[in-house]
Symmetry: none
């Protein structure tokens, strides 16, 4: 897909586009049940969308490739998922609302407990409360001084987990975790994946950070050190506005998805208590944006749990909220997933996901049900997720004619 | 689609290939009718082709992209439509039979009427008759002298419309229209889209042309000046013969389509009075060529009019002529469109178009009807139009085996 063409054709208008992502929606049959989680779910509203719209089956990245959440969502937003593959650290940092510069290196940290011999006693420092984590992050933030033109920014996430940014020129994101993944061992020293001038500089900076952290935290009873993992360097992303003339709004409750949305310039809705309030947020903010991304996490979570029936219940719950969206009559409404998470596999999978695209400019095919097998026979055929944005823009009449 | 491979494999043989293009054939349902224009049309012969052949759904350029006629036809002939996107001026100049060199700049002109104050009184010079236009073009042709190694070639098109070629080295096609699109204003001076040495040279040449035209036409009562639009520079195209070993013949009545066909080396059938005579022309010329392009314009025209029923009638008319082609038993017969022009939208659209490919070497699928929804389930699946030529060549046994 040559998105340079699409970007040259993109024009603004007054239409509204809504993308509802049921994370990990695609499934597989399990013994004793008729079909996948979708087949089994009572889903009158999803089926109504399938009947009213154009259906298809979408490969998250390319056939056979199981995606992480990052690339899967970049693709849904029209960003090449291979080109735009980025470390989890950056996505989570953006997702918890940290403002990153394009050259920042983000690192996930765990507070941990070291014994008197310097070996790890508890990799999670007894899962300290989040308020405790906040106090420790402020303590580090006040005392750490990396010098050498490198700024240190620290933010608590949850319990023993926090996030840091290393801000400065010439830093690398190609460092390995210092967490040995096992108690009884010493934390690993900072090491690089590849030996470059930048990685050597970053090893020096991180070494200094670890030395300082050990001193600063020495008097803490539990959280007396930090383990670093998920080093990732940010980069510049052209925004949805720049590329497609879209003001985007993300209604997503988990950091990863908030992170991707933020990196490409969407505004983020505050975290909501439940799925229903996500749909209500869409209604409240409907006048203010062009493109809405509503992300439901729990289909994926229950799939990862291997709990077929619980995933079915999440689908049924989301189905019941869909009339809130359809009542708004967006020019383009797409319901789909970012990938499959079959309960059978308890993990993400490569299987393509069903898509229903509803619009006054969409062709109605004869698909009557929203599931993997029915949608495979739809008029959209099978296509890679990265093409979805162009299809949505086209149906919203937001793409000019190409050529004379 | 890597056409270098296809070109290396192409071999000549005695087979005949026929491509029937119903311009803008794809449609959308309108309220109160069951399905698209194709669904509604009585189309026994189209359905027979769908039953006998392999069916599919074809994206003109790429998903979501609405093409102009130029790129849509380049794709149908196996030319990358993005690489080969070219200005309308060139296509129309070629289409009215002007012989272009690869470095010519083509410009569409309107004769117009200026008032004594130099402002435009009539942008179409009262729609002077075509013979009058021919006289004025001859007058310009005799008197204009651009010097500087630039040749001026002028040809009447219809009523107030004509075409000029600027032939010389180092000219640019990136100039803006001089037509301000409004009466009461002065014509705009020549300006460039981008400032380059070539565009500055072209501005000087065009400035000279406008000065001379004003003098030459000063004594004309109506057509006393010209407005320039659609500047476009030609380029070199490798021919169907060079690329695919095909002698091509185009039976098309409108300049744009004749233009594309001519640029890639097809011979052009003289303009015919109606659609039936286009099919008869195919029969007459059948012995002389390998590849026939038969272009029916009116499906698109009625779609652009927003006249659903009139478009249905054009489909039914074309359907009635199809036995003329099938009686010839070409090795490969493809019926399809260059893009959709749903009456609902009164414009070209991005929706993919149905394809039926009939050949003794084609797999028969179970598609029974020629329409968008039925063909979507065909054995050709969904594919971009640029792949069609390779499919046609293959079914004509005109591609050697690739590799050992």
């Amino acid at each position: 897909m040559d998105y340079r063409v699409i970007e040259e054709l993109a024009i603004p208008n007054d239409s509204k586009m809504v993308l509802v992502v049921l994370d990990g929606i695609g499934g597989l049959a399990i013994p004793g049940r008729e079909g996948t989680e979708l087949h089994v779910a009572r889903r009158p509203n999803l089926n109504l969308l399938a009947r009213r719209g154009s259906c298809g089956l979408m490969d998250p990245i390319m056939p056979g490739v199981t995606p992480g959440s990052g690339p899967a969502h970049f693709a849904l937003f029209g960003y090449d998922p291979v080109e735009n593959n980025i470390g989890r650290g950056v996505l989570e940092a953006a997702g918890i609302g940290m403002d990153l510069t394009p050259s920042d290196v983000a690192v996930r940290i765990n507070f941990c407990t070291l014994g008197p011999d310097g070996r790890i006693v508890d990799r999670r420092a007894g899962r300290i409360p989040t308020e405790e984590c906040e106090r420790l992050c402020e303590k580090l933030q006040r005392a750490v001084n990396l010098g050498d033109g490198v700024e240190f920014i620290c933010r608590a996430v949850k319990e023993h987990r926090a996030m840091i940014l290393l801000r400065g020129e010439g830093l690398s994101g190609d460092l390995l975790d210092t967490d040995p993944q096992q108690v009884g061992l010493e934390p690993l020293p900072p090491r690089a994946l590849v030996d470059t001038e930048e990685s050597r500089r970053t090893i020096r900076v991180v070494g200094k950070l670890l030395t300082q952290a050990r001193e600063i935290l020495a008097d803490e009873p539990k959280a007396n050190f930090i383990l670093l993992r998920g080093f990732a360097k940010n980069r510049h992303y052209r925004s949805l506005q720049e590329r497609f003339k879209l003001r985007g709004y993300a209604i997503a409750n988990y950091p990863m998805y908030r992170g991707v949305a933020k990196l490409i310039g969407m505004d983020l809705h505050p975290v909501t208590p439940d799925v229903r309030s996500q749909f209500e947020a869409l209604r409240e903010k409907y006048a203010d944006y062009d493109y809405f991304f509503l992300h439901v996490k729990y289909t994926d979570s229950r799939g990862e749990d291997g709990d077929f029936d619980a995933k079915v219940r999440v689908i049924e719950e989301v189905d019941s909220y869909l009339p809130i969206v359809t009542a708004l009559e967006p020019q383009v409404l797409v319901v789909t997933g970012d990938h499959s998470t079959p309960a059978l596999l308890k993990a993400h999978s490569w299987h393509p996901v069903p898509v229903a695209l509803v619009s006054p400019t969409a062709r109605m095919d004869d698909v009557e049900r929203f599931d993997e097998v029915s949608c495979a026979k739809g008029i959209l055929g099978r296509f890679p997720a990265v093409e979805l944005m162009a299809l949505m823009l086209a149906h919203a009449l937001r793409l000019k004619k190409f050529g004379a």
